[in-house]
């Protein structure tokens, strides 16, 4: 019986086009520019070793960002990812005695459970995603610290292989990131799940009236995000041969959200851009590595990152409507 909901139509659609173009393709342009600039100013930039390193360092952010992209596609947000990474890395050492694979599986399972809890809270209890995931951001890292304590060495040959081994010259971590990108892209583009995710983010009421089971989809999305974050945690721990729950995955939520949004996925939900997310993750990594390779201190690098993120997200979302 709501006669006149205030759905103000947007008259100024022309000014959108430039912004829309930046939102969709800006990330690739920026990426290309940065590569060109680096090729000129950074020594040894255009080497296989360097590319290898860049990709290895991008892999964890990218994997986390994949889950984040799906969550944001449903108009949600997942702030728990960094803590979930720490949690899975902290749990792994406890089970490493049973072998590499069981340990990894337990670590990933922990992420899935955390996602399940968040999903249930969001979809069945109606808790805002930001609140539910914030709670896990707080408690998850605490739990990781309690379990993991100080830095633990993970001198397991299997993990070492996962961390630094490669097949046909491609590091395992990069390979797994590529495979996950393909899987998630497949999920989003070629399955009913992808359509349901975007439909829920785009118009929840319409999706519900089309018979889509909103709650099931939402829970699945958060579980997937938890699984992916946990796997990223495993990768980071495997590469450093250690798990330090205090720092592992710290501020990962910010990098992942930045990668997703810079890649053109709208925070308003309804659209998931996987290739853009890949671009966003690479861009974020390249910015950091550019600063590092020119001996910019960590402090300045952090400040620059903060500014870049705000500016890039501002370009995507635009000015406040009054």
């Amino acid at each position: 019986m709501k006669a006149a909901p205030t759905t103000a139509s947007v008259p100024g659609k022309r000014s959108m086009t430039v912004r829309a173009w930046i939102a969709n393709y800006g990330v690739y342009v920026a990426l290309a520019l940065l590569v060109v600039i680096n090729a000129i100013i950074t020594p040894h930039f255009l080497t296989v070793d360097n590319f290898r390193l860049q990709l290895i360092q991008t892999a964890p952010v990218l994997i986390v960002a994949l889950g984040m992209a799906m969550v944001i596609g449903t108009k949600g947000i997942d702030l728990s990812v960094g803590s979930v990474m720490a949690l899975s890395a902290a749990i792994m050492p406890l089970y490493i005695g049973y072998g590499t694979v069981p340990a990894i599986l337990v670590g990933i399972l922990a992420g899935g459970l955390s996602g399940l809890m968040i999903g249930v809270l969001v979809s069945y209890f109606g808790i805002q995603p930001i609140v539910a995931t914030l709670a896990v951001l707080i408690g998850g890292r605490g739990l990781a610290n309690v379990i993991g304590g100080e830095i633990k060495n993970l001198s397991d040959p299997g993990l070492a292989a996962l961390g630094s081994g490669s097949v046909l010259g491609i590091p395992y971590s990069v390979l797994s990131a590529v495979i996950l990108v393909l899987i998630v892209a497949f999920l989003m583009r070629r399955t009913t799940f992808g359509i349901m995710v975007e439909a829920i983010g785009g118009n929840k009421l319409a999706a519900e009236l089309a018979g889509i089971r909103i709650r099931t989809v939402l829970v699945s999305v958060y579980v997937l995000s938890g699984l992916l974050a946990a796997f990223a945690g495993v990768l980071v721990a495997a590469r450093s041969q250690a798990s330090d729950p205090r720092t592992l995955g710290l501020l990962m939520e910010l990098s992942a959200i930045a990668a997703v949004v810079i890649g053109g996925t709208s925070l308003a939900g309804g659209k998931v851009r996987i290739l853009g997310t890949v671009g966003g993750a690479l861009l974020m990594q390249l910015i950091v590595s550019t600063l590092v390779s020119h001996n910019i201190p960590d402090s300045v690098s952090q400040m620059v990152q903060a500014v870049v993120i705000v500016v890039a997200v501002a370009l995507q979302v635009g000015r406040r409507k009054t």
């Binding site: 019986m1 709501k2 006669a3 006149a4 909901p5 205030t6 759905t7 103000a8 139509s9 070629r190 399955t191 009913t192 799940f193 359509i195 349901m196 975007e198 439909a199 785009g202 118009n203 009421l205 319409a206 999706a207 519900e208 009236l209 089309a210 018979g211 889509i212 089971r213 309804g270 659209k271 009054t322």
Partner: protein
């Protein structure tokens, strides 16, 4: 001098002309109502007067001086206050705080003088004849009181014009009476009031003047008492067939009453909205639901489809009982609903036409969750062709389509589900004439092929031409049933006017 005057307002949204040269004059010390069915341009006019929208052409004068409002707050500062259907106050603050929010009396230290605040607020509400404790939190009060507090706030801003947009729609009768006495008091103080309500009886009770809108044009303006209910409704719905053109419904010979019952809803009730409604639709039959705005027509189809919480009732499709309150269950049983609010409940603008069409049949176009492009393309191409949906390709974003094509796409979405009962809520609203006739012809064709159809329309011609049976609703109850040769325009209009008059 007029309190508020609009001259020659024009406004359109994405090519659809919503206001045509609308003139409107509000004299001080009068209560003036604007009436019209959904889509007549009522709310657009109000929003243009209060700065939410800006009209493309035309002028607005406030107390004789031309004004231009780019934002609602500008209108408010100039003395045009609006009381909305949903109260726009802060529920967790006290009544007094709400009345004076942003303009509180201060003491010497610059802090709010709570005593003065409460005293002045108490004076304001007493002057208006409202009985309320001003220190009470607004949110715990009834909606009626909240509306009155919103009015009280308008008074203290020294408004010269107060616009009340459906303030009574969720009020009890007694609350309405108090609200009216407050409104009259304001009028007597010389304030010009615009009052909007879909409860027509209230208009004669309260209003001095009336302006009737239809299809974005003013079709009548004058003193309220010169109109009776019948002429008001006739003007509102528009009886001149010539203007609306012929519909594309063909008179079907629906004499074969022996056809099987497809959809049956018995004793359907929803708290405060529907009261024990029965609907029966046979194979190939089109049952029209008529009623004025707020009579419960949309609620019936929503309830049948599981989208509205019901307290009792039984729904069966082809003899099998359907679980109430579950959309998936209704869909599985073969019910489909084309919703009235295309934008809020139908389209997913950022998805492609293709994805939008298959939204209701995802399990059927996939194997273990993996989409079958072949099946989808077949289906989508077929429906795009059959319904003549104009798209550059099936991957075009839905938001780029015109209203008519969006509507056809939605119809395609529901036809994909192969429903045995199709509920259509205002299927032709807001789409151009060509698309309208195509949609009407399609509905006819569907019924001829044996589908059970429920049709809601606020255009009487469309209902009369399309329906085999018409159920007339009033206040959530069926007040009259028109069958066979009773289905004609005059009969329907008088049923709408007199039916169930209390």
């Amino acid at each position: 001098m007029l309190a508020l005057a609009a001259r020659g307002l024009n406004k359109s949204f994405s090519g659809v002309h919503v206001l045509h040269d609308v003139d409107f004059s509000l004299r001080p010390g009068t209560i003036h109502t604007i009436v019209g069915e959904n889509g007549a341009g009522k709310s657009t006019l109000i929003k243009s007067l209060t700065g939410v929208y800006q009209a493309e052409t035309g002028s607005i004068e406030l107390a004789g001086a031309e004004v231009r409002f780019n934002h609602p707050s500008q209108a408010q500062d100039a003395g045009v206050s609006t009381v909305y259907q949903e109260v726009n106050l802060v529920p967790l603050l006290s009544v007094a705080r709400n009345i004076f929010l942003g303009r509180e009396p201060r003491n010497r230290l610059g802090l709010i003088d709570l005593r003065a605040l409460n005293r002045r607020a108490a004076e304001v509400v007493r002057d208006l004849g409202i009985d309320v404790d001003v220190t009470a939190e607004l949110g715990v009060l009834g909606l009626g009181v909240q509306q009155m507090i919103a009015l009280a706030r308008a008074v203290t801003t020294e408004a010269r014009v107060v616009i009340m947009d459906e303030p009574t729609s969720s009020l009890e009768r007694r609350e309405v009476e108090v609200l009216f006495s407050v409104a009259r008091r304001l009028r007597d103080q010389g304030v010009g009031i615009v009052f909007i309500s879909h409860r027509l009886d209230e208009l004669w009770e309260l209003c001095d003047e009336v302006t009737i809108l239809r299809d974005g044009r003013v079709v009548h303006t004058g003193p309220m008492h010169e109109l009776d209910r019948r002429s008001l409704i006739s003007a509102m719905l528009g009886r001149d067939i010539a203007e609306h053109g012929v519909t594309s419904f063909t008179e079907s010979d629906s004499s074969e009453t022996a056809a099987e019952v497809v959809l049956e809803a018995k004793d359907l009730s929803a708290p405060g909205r529907l009261h024990s409604v029965d609907v029966t639709v046979r194979e190939g039959e089109i049952v029209g639901l008529a009623g004025l705005l707020g009579s419960g027509r949309s609620e019936i189809v929503k309830a049948i489809y599981g989208g509205l919480e019901t307290s009792s009732g039984q729904i069966t499709v082809e003899g099998r009982t359907v679980r109430r309150g579950s959309v998936p269950a209704a869909l599985r049983a073969g019910i489909a609903l084309l919703s009235e609010d295309r934008k809020a409940e139908g389209i997913v603008p950022e998805l492609s036409v293709r994805d939008n069409i298959i939204l209701g049949i995802l399990p059927r176009v996939s194997n273990a969750g993996v989409l079958s492009n072949r099946r989808i393309d077949e289906l989508v191409e077929q429906w795009i062709r059959r319904l003549g949906i104009k798209v550059s390709s099936s991957t075009q974003l839905l938001s780029e389509l015109s209203g008519g094509n969006q509507q056809k796409m939605l119809i395609a979405r529901w036809l994909c589900t192969e429903p045995s009962a199709f509920l259509l809520d205002e299927p032709t609203r807001g789409i151009d004439v060509g698309a309208k006739q195509e949609v009407q012809a399609l509905i006819d064709e569907l019924a001829e092929k044996g589908m059970a159809v429920v049709l809601i329309s606020s255009e009487t011609e469309e209902l009369v031409a399309g329906s085999d049976t018409i159920l007339v609703l009033r206040d959530g109850e069926i007040s009259e049933v028109l069958t066979d040769d009773q289905v004609d325009n005059a009969r329907l209009l008088s049923a709408l006017v007199d039916g169930g008059q209390r």
